[in-house]
């Protein structure tokens, strides 16, 4: 993490804890959850820190109850968050579909672990497709933010609350066991809201106004089609307004790595090494996985010789990269399911590709 100018307060915290600090800073006073490794720091932190500030921490009997607690509290117009991992996130799919269909904001944090099934607690990016294609029924979408540092665990959680309210839609923060469990210094920058606080649609009792509802059922002829088009326009708008990514050493990069979260973080080390060797490699790091930075990826691919997709899975974001650009022939993949690629492995692959594409790369034997 680039150092903050001296004088600015830095905290040493786990990524999971930074999520909590960010949520509380963003005004979240309701957390519901169910234990699962490797995200237990989050409910544990919230159970200790919410009650003293008048917030509510409630452990649910299951992830299904959890997501429906969220639905109820969100329908009440309050900011609310949950967190889970793998199996727990799968159990929330019906509820997420309902919340998207009912246009309810909430933040869901997935500190993903290994799968499928019980899998294991090793770090993984195996839930990418579940998150961005939306594992629930009916073809909804939600913003998916991918932090690659403790600093971003803090700041992107705050952003997630704003996006959720801006679009009246669930938003997901997709981390992994490494980002969640590691500690590193971060600067708790102040939260500046970008959305109005009022939620006139909230269910607060129909005093002085007609009754209103939060629902996803549309049975009358064509109602549901119209509702789906409405949602679709909302998702398009996200694609126009919310794309976020970090270009890293992209100046004249002949080899462009596309990676997110921990995989991107590790890639940075390898890129530094390769650059020192004069190898023109850079990275385009998607920060929003949905909306995906398709245009940026396409342009990068157009100008590069190789696009190297690196993921901690067997190739999921890879599909979005292929869908983003016509330059399929330039795309390569380096994947490690349920394990973190080492800087050494990535560095070696960069060299191999540099050789392959016969780039000018001083220092490469």
């Amino acid at each position: 993490m680039t150092l903050s100018p001296t004088g600015i307060r830095r905290e040493l915290m786990k990524g999971n804890e930074a999520v909590c600090v960010g949520a509380i800073a963003a005004g979240c006073r309701f957390y519901y959850g169910y234990p699962i490794t490797p995200q237990n720091d989050i409910p544990e932190y919230m159970s200790a820190h919410l009650p003293p500030i008048g917030g509510t921490f409630l452990q649910a009997e299951s992830e299904i109850a959890t997501i429906n607690f969220l639905l109820g509290t969100s329908a009440s117009g309050k900011r609310v968050m949950t967190s889970s991992s793998g199996p727990g996130i799968s159990l929330m799919q019906e509820g997420l579909s309902y919340m998207a269909g009912s246009e309810l904001p909430a933040v869901v944090v997935n500190i993903s672990r290994s799968g499928p099934g019980l899998g294991g607690i090793a770090p993984s990016q195996g839930d990418y497709l579940q998150a961005v294609k939306c594992g629930g029924h009916g073809g909804y979408k939600m913003p998916v933010l991918a932090p690659h540092s403790v600093q971003e665990m803090y700041s992107l959680t705050m952003l997630a609350f704003d996006l959720a309210d801006k679009y009246r839609n669930p938003a997901m923060v997709l981390g992994d066991a490494i980002i969640g469990q590691m500690k590193e210094p971060f600067v708790p920058t102040p939260y500046l809201s970008t959305v109005p606080a009022e939620k006139p649609w909230a269910l607060t009792g129909c005093a002085g106004r007609p009754r209103q509802h939060v629902k996803s059922l549309y049975l009358r002829e064509n109602e549901i089609e119209a509702h789906n088009w409405k949602l679709h326009r909302k998702y398009r708008r996200m694609e126009e307004e919310e794309v976020r990514f970090e270009p890293y050493h992209m100046d004249g990069a002949g080899i462009v790595i596309v990676a997110f979260g921990t995989a991107a973080r590790v890639s940075k080390t390898a890129i530094q090494w390769a650059r020192r060797e004069g190898c023109p490699v850079g990275m385009l790091r998607p920060i929003t996985l949905f909306p995906f930075p398709s245009r940026a990826v396409d342009e990068a691919a157009a100008n590069a010789d190789v696009v190297l997709v690196i993921e901690m899975n067997t190739g999921q974001m890879l599909e979005d990269v292929r869908a983003s650009t016509r330059h399929h022939d330039k795309i390569r993949f380096l994947g490690k399911p349920c394990a973190m690629p080492t800087p050494e492995e990535i560095h070696q692959e960069i060299r191999r590709l540099a050789g392959e594409t016969a780039l000018k790369t001083e220092g490469v034997r």
């Binding site: 409630l58 649910a60 299951s62 429906n68 969220l70 009440s76 009754r211 939060v214 996803s216």
Partner: protein
Amino acid sequence: MKDGAKETFPRQVFKRPDSLVDVRTHFCPGCHHGIAHRILAETIDHFHLRENTIGVACVGCSVFLYDYIDVDVAEAPHGRAPAVATGVKRAQPDKFVFTYQGDGDLAAIGTSEVIHAANRGENITVLFVNNTTYGMTGGQMAPTTMLGQKTATSPYGREFRNDGYPIRMAELLATLEGTAYSARVATSTPAQIRQAKEAVKKAFGMQIREMGFSLVEFLSTCPTNWGMKPLDAQKRVLGEMSEYFPLGVYKERRQADFV
């Protein structure tokens, strides 16, 4: 004629409760959902709660609760109404929060949510309409379906060795610490309807006095899926159904027990 009525008999002694929206319902002829809805609306009026209430609709024939009861309503996924109500009540403890659920919704897919809401002593009120079948989906077997009863998915009649036993939710929930009130009523005679109103008032009262979880189970009818005339459906309620699902109050917390 109305006017004629007005002059001879000036006092209207029965009218639609204010909280019951003045529209035709989609319920089948003789379906008791209509009676339960009316009792609910009457009780909301009785406590002047209309502007202070958030209802939670379930998935079932009563999913259109929000078209009929003139209060704010959230629609819950099938079976999850008590969880949604929990989320509402935790966010707005000052509001009156109820769920209205069918027996497939509450006693099958929603078992866990209602049991833990009760066990937490969640300060909400649950109206539970038991018609021994899944009405909206066309009359399949429910956990409350009687032994021997033929349904769309028990064409040879429910058999305990394969399908288990009709489950008695009012009794089950009464065993939990957090439950303040649990009663079973029916609406097949005028007298039963009066008792049902009393039970619902009691249940509302528990929440108003913050005594914890309250539930009223209605033995209802589903003439359509039972393949019966409405009057015969009522006879069934008064007969075999009330025998297996005895009417009564299974738990009623007195202030004392609480703290």
